[in-house]
């Protein structure tokens, strides 16, 4: 059997682990157009901030590929899939045969069409090579920078630069930062917090031109204002690398469409990670969910599917975690409900930078924003994922004392939903009395 995996990141690497758990013998080829050994791109902003070194970027033990006997082709691009011949054509003109193929090609940054965007000193932050270019600018004595976009990557980049002593301005088209991830009131708290720490946020405006001789020197906003910048970081979201799939006739929309077993519309070709669209359990819609844990889970399941284990991927709950200086934010599920029939519960203390919001749909928790105090977040993600009726619990969500013990009555009542052994483990001494 020949397995071939394109993309050596969260999805691809985790698929290998699953495959090797059941198939020690077959060939596994791994193709990456990045000329690095596998690393976690989520750590790139930490690398820029100076809180870790390149040595820390690998997310699996260093001997992972060797131990799993992977034929790793790095620095080469998979250019075409020859489906009938069951081969992948590489940029170095070589060919890799496959019986099962995984597309784990991820996503790439959206680059807006702005005059001057191609100038030196204008970079996205997606790859280690992007980070190295940005590092070069910082080392060369960078003083001012502009971040385009107030999403998670934009904010992480801005924070990293601020940590390195660079004066940063974040330019955001929306009325507030993190507009996809949180709501206006919480975003305003975060903005206030950042501005006190020297990160300036300019909302409802956009960059219309990037100018400078060869390198960027300044940007012009749509209101005519000009801002000096020795570096521009582009944080305008990502697009899935779905071209390979499209060319071979795999069904795609924005991302690749997959079945519950992670197979694409072409038999024996699977897909996982940022390149696919998946079912969002909280919105009930199929969408792009470009997140590390999602890519890990899908990669693992795709690997199992490729070794013919039966797999039924239910879908995902989008979620993210962001820490800027000492302020932590976790958002889970649907935070800006657009349909009717949603109810919300909010607690806010702006002075203490605290905010908690819970979003319910028909007595089920479907989303939360936790700012400031985040330690019990996982219990909320459990309740969201399990889609249970939480009407009897709602009132205590906001309390400081909220913890796992408070959902125990629930777990006792719904053993078929909380079926993982670990829940039962916490209740062994209670069971005889309460489950009759």
């Amino acid at each position: 059997m020949n397995y071939c995996i394109i993309g050596a990141s969260a999805a691809g690497i985790n698929a290998i682990e699953s495959i090797r758990a059941y198939d020690k013998k077959s060939n596994i080829a791994l193709i990456s157009d990045e000329d690095f050994s596998p690393y976690s791109r989520c750590l790139l902003s930490y690398l820029l901030a100076g809180s870790l070194t390149k040595e820390h970027l690998h997310f699996k033990p260093k001997d992972f590929l060797e131990k799993n006997r992977v034929n790793f082709q790095r620095g080469v691009k998979a250019e075409r899939i020859l489906y009938k011949e069951r081969k992948v054509l590489l940029s170095d003109k070589s060919q890799i045969p496959f019986d099962k193929l995984l597309l784990a090609t991820g996503a790439r940054p959206k680059i807006p069409r702005i005059p001057g965007i191609e100038k030196r000193g204008v970079y996205p932050l997606r790859t280690l090579s992007d980070a190295q270019k940005i590092e070069g600018c910082i080392k060369a004595g960078l003083e001012t920078a502009v971040v385009l976009g107030g999403g998670l990557i934009g904010m992480r980049s801005a924070y990293a630069l601020a940590k390195r002593g660079v004066k940063v301005k974040v330019v955001v088209k929306s009325p507030h930062i993190l507009s996809q991830a949180i709501d206006q009131p919480s975003a305003e708290i975060v903005q206030g917090y950042l501005e006190k720490r020297g990160i300036e946020v300019l909302t409802k405006t956009d960059v219309i031109e990037i100018s400078g001789q060869e390198r960027v020197e300044e940007v012009t906003l749509d209101n005519g204002k000009r801002i000096k910048a020795g570096l521009v970081i582009i944080g305008k979201g990502v697009v899935p690398n779905s071209e390979l799939a499209e060319e071979v006739g795999i069904k795609i929309r924005e991302g690749i469409l997959i079945e519950k077993n992670l197979e694409t519309s072409l038999k024996d070709i699977f897909a996982a990670g940022d390149v696919v669209e998946s079912f969002d359990l909280t919105s009930g819609e199929t969408s792009l969910n470009p997140l590390w844990p999602v890519a890990v889970e899908q990669g693992k399941l795709a690997g199992l599917s490729m070794v013919n284990k039966s797999v039924e991927y239910q879908g995902t709950v989008p979620m993210n975690s962001l820490t800027l200086f000492n302020l932590s934010l976790i958002t889970i599920g649907l935070v800006n409900p657009f349909k009717e029939n949603y109810s919300v519960m909010v607690y806010a203390d702006k002075k203490k930078y605290l905010y908690r919001k819970f979003i319910f749909y028909r007595n089920r928790l479907v989303g939360t924003i936790l700012l400031g105090e985040i330690e019990k977040a996982g219990i909320f993600s459990l309740l969201i994922r399990k889609m249970v009726d939480v009407s009897s619990l709602k009132e205590i969500f906001i309390e400081k004392e909220f913890n796992y013990a408070k959902i125990i009555p629930f777990i006792l009542d719904n053993p078929e939903i909380f079926k993982e052994k670990e829940f039962n483990d916490t209740l062994l001494s209670l069971q005889k009395e309460f489950v009759s």
Partner: protein
Amino acid sequence: MVKIFCDIKKCLGCRTCELACAIEHTQAKELFKALQEENLPQARIENEKIMINNFSFSLTCQHCEDAPCVNACISGAMFKDEKTGETKCDTDKCVGCWMCIMVCPFGIIKQGKKNAVKCDLCPEREDFACVASCPTKALFGGTREEFQNKLNNSTTQ
């Protein structure tokens, strides 16, 4: 898989385990000296009130078989020990992104100063600090089967 279990019927909610755990995870391993250390002692076990019968119980990492924290970890710090099944955090690799906190169904991973703080089953001692400290012997360190046996024996007595 060895981990910490709590007999809810024996737990008084005295929080001695929290203190013992916090002290065990300091350099000095002694309350007075520990309070002078740079990082204040932090417990990895937590006593929580259940809303039934005024019960409370002490909870710590369940070392989940399919551990959500390991799947969510962006740095590879959180991992399963292949031999023991223990969920471990390599604090040298942990960057404090709190993705693990976001997904821990027990809400039992804590924010340390720079990295995630969780039950490590007391690697520096033979027994477990929380278990050793428990005045009513409500806490137990061992496998699920061993704990189940212990419960069965105590009810038949």
